[in-house]
Point group: C2
Chain length 379, copies 2
């Protein structure tokens, strides 16, 4: 390709290849230092091109998906070791069985004896053995059983006792790490995530149930956790792009954020000190993940076309296809710096949400567009 960023129709998604690659390598190194094994969560990137770069960097060929569409897409591109991370229900088992039948080592997640029973029964009917993780709640954040809940042993026995099912192990996600206020809080959360998951595995083993895998992770805990004792794999996804929420957590620096939305200045509201761009919530997403952090970045931090932050300029409000850019403290905007037709790049609050508004990445080195990577969206 011989395109430069200036010729791209806006709004569109821009990925800084060097930053992406550095983020990928940093996390792989960080986990390897602790003797851990990575399972990349591909819900952030939803792109085989991006995921191939992560695997080429030395990550194991195992992925986590958040939808069965991701499972189909990545399996069709040759990735065979997949965990589907959203609690399984009966209606989805036929499709899971079809993928297993097609050779995919697809594992599911559940947190009730009811679904464990259903899994074995449907596995026998469909002629497959479903492998399931029991989900453990290590931070009171979302789904899962408490590590010493009696139902966990029950689930282990049900899964192990049916030829239609098998216990893959225990799994957890410390999503609560996103609400931490300091690195030491994240570090403590990582240790809580680890120790409670290991406790769950040990409860099963003490009851004579085999529990091969212990899978945990979130980008913050994967970054700052110290010990991985007793853990067989660490999952993370957003680290490959990083974002303003991660920067607010000190997981990365602003200059590590590889993803941005390219937008064009379409108007000046001089009396209201606002620059109007064609990057609205359709392009940025409605995510306001930094609203509760120490620094509220509005709908995103504004950079120049080369990706350098423009001081305190943020997207203060967003309509469907209009973004309003202003100084954080309502100070006067230097309109001469942003003439009509000039381009901006907006760093996202939450990379998963912003990327999901687009069907492709424009991969850049400096201002040169080196590749276009399609995304696989929807369900």
């Amino acid at each position: 390709m011989n395109t430069t960023i200036e010729t791209l129709p806006t709004p569109c998604l821009v990925l800084d290849e060097a930053k992406f690659q550095r983020n990928v390598t940093n996390m792989r190194t960080r986990i390897a230092q602790r003797g851990g094994t990575l399972r990349v969560h591909v819900k952030t990137n939803k792109s085989i091109d991006a995921t191939r770069r992560i695997l080429d960097d030395g990550a194991p060929h195992r992925i986590m998906v958040s939808t069965l569409e991701e499972a189909r897409y990545f399996a069709a591109h040759g990735l065979g070791d997949i965990t589907y991370g959203v609690g399984i229900v009966d209606q989805k088992l036929e499709e899971v069985a079809r993928l297993i039948g097609a050779g995919v080592d697809l594992k599911v997640v559940l947190d009730s004896a009811h679904m464990a029973r259903k899994l074995g029964q449907r596995g026998r009917e469909l002629g497959v053995t479903f492998k399931a993780y029991a989900e453990i709640d290590t931070d009171g954040h979302r789904a899962g059983l408490q590590p010493q809940d009696a139902q966990l042993i029950e689930i282990g026995r049900i899964l192990a006792g049916d030829r239609g099912s098998q216990l893959a192990g225990v799994i957890t996600h410390a999503g609560g790490s996103y609400e931490c206020r300091s690195i030491s809080e994240i570090r403590a959360m990582a240790e809580q995530e680890r120790s409670r998951l290991v406790l769950a595995a040990e409860s099963l083993r003490a009851a004579g149930i085999e529990c091969p895998e212990t899978s945990l992770g979130s980008t913050p805990t994967a970054t700052f956790g110290e010990s991985l004792a007793g853990i067989t794999e660490v999952r993370a996804g957003v680290y490959v792009f990083q974002d303003l929420v991660m920067a607010g957590l000190e997981v990365c620096r602003i200059e590590d954020i590889a993803l941005s939305v390219l937008a064009t200045v379409i108007g000046h509201q001089t009396t209201r000190n606002g620059i109007i761009t064609d990057g609205g919530w359709m392009a940025l997403s409605r995510d306001r993940g930094t609203a509760q952090q120490a620094v509220d970045q509005g709908y995103g931090l504004v950079c120049d076309v080369d990706g350098r932050a423009c001081g305190d300029l943020i997207v203060t409000s967003a309509n469907q296809e209009h973004g309003i850019v202003a100084e954080r403290q309502g100070r006067a905007v230097d309109f001469a710096r942003f003439p009509l037709g000039s381009q901006l790049r907006v760093l996202p609050n939450h990379a998963c949400a912003t990327a999901a508004q687009h069907d492709r990445y424009h991969v850049v080195e400096g201002r040169e567009v080196k590749a276009v990577w399609p995304r696989s969206n929807y369900w």
Copy 2:
């Protein structure tokens, strides 16, 4: 098709055809009663199938789009009278000229003498006459010139005086109506939108500049406005689906909302009184448009599979592919009513944002899926 809602993979978008049709007819009637002419804003539906139903109901064959992709898509399906509503910039003029060359009566919007000049120059270079609306700010909400800004006359003269450009008229959108607190406030906003736009048209005419069109609209002002004196067309889009924000403004009733996200119960958090579903922010969007209204609907109001609201059950929080459903006041949830694997329908805060997370509508009559209508997303 012979499918029922129970067999749809979740999450997915469901459109109640009868409600949609009633919303379409109500607005057409409401505008006709005032002697107005409708231009449907298709950014909400982005579907030729939905838009055909609106036009078949008797709406004029003229549409407003929010992206050039919508312009291409609807033009390819035979709609030739299109206004592109986001302030035009130089980079997009070649594509606009290409569409005009292909026979589309495509009009653009601008609010500066700079862009007016550029339009004529580029029109001559590209061999077309660009028709442009001058955007008027009638509510201090976003873009546009004040009705009596001297620059408006300047823009009119520039556009009229160049064979590469032409003044289509004046245009405004009272987006401020979304923040009104009562019907009488919306009514006053509608009159302000009308009178200020007419004032702008009259300023141009008093200066000897022809101003054929006066285009205004938003769903709230189109619904409650009384006079359309001096107005040639009314634009609205979200009314076809309606949503919780519109219900909060009393523009519609909850039972008029035609759009919902179908989700499946995937977990029970009995100790935290939460139902976990597979309808997260990826399916619902991150829109929290009711947060500032009298009734905060969280990420959406929960209905049963037949679309009847389940009391005070709302989506209280959302992760990418997980929704947490709970009682508004934190009261005990009746888990027996929502067993694992059962389906819910979530009414959206903002139909434009929620629909945009999906690539298709499942059009239902009762529980029967009668059709699938694809959407045209992205830019």
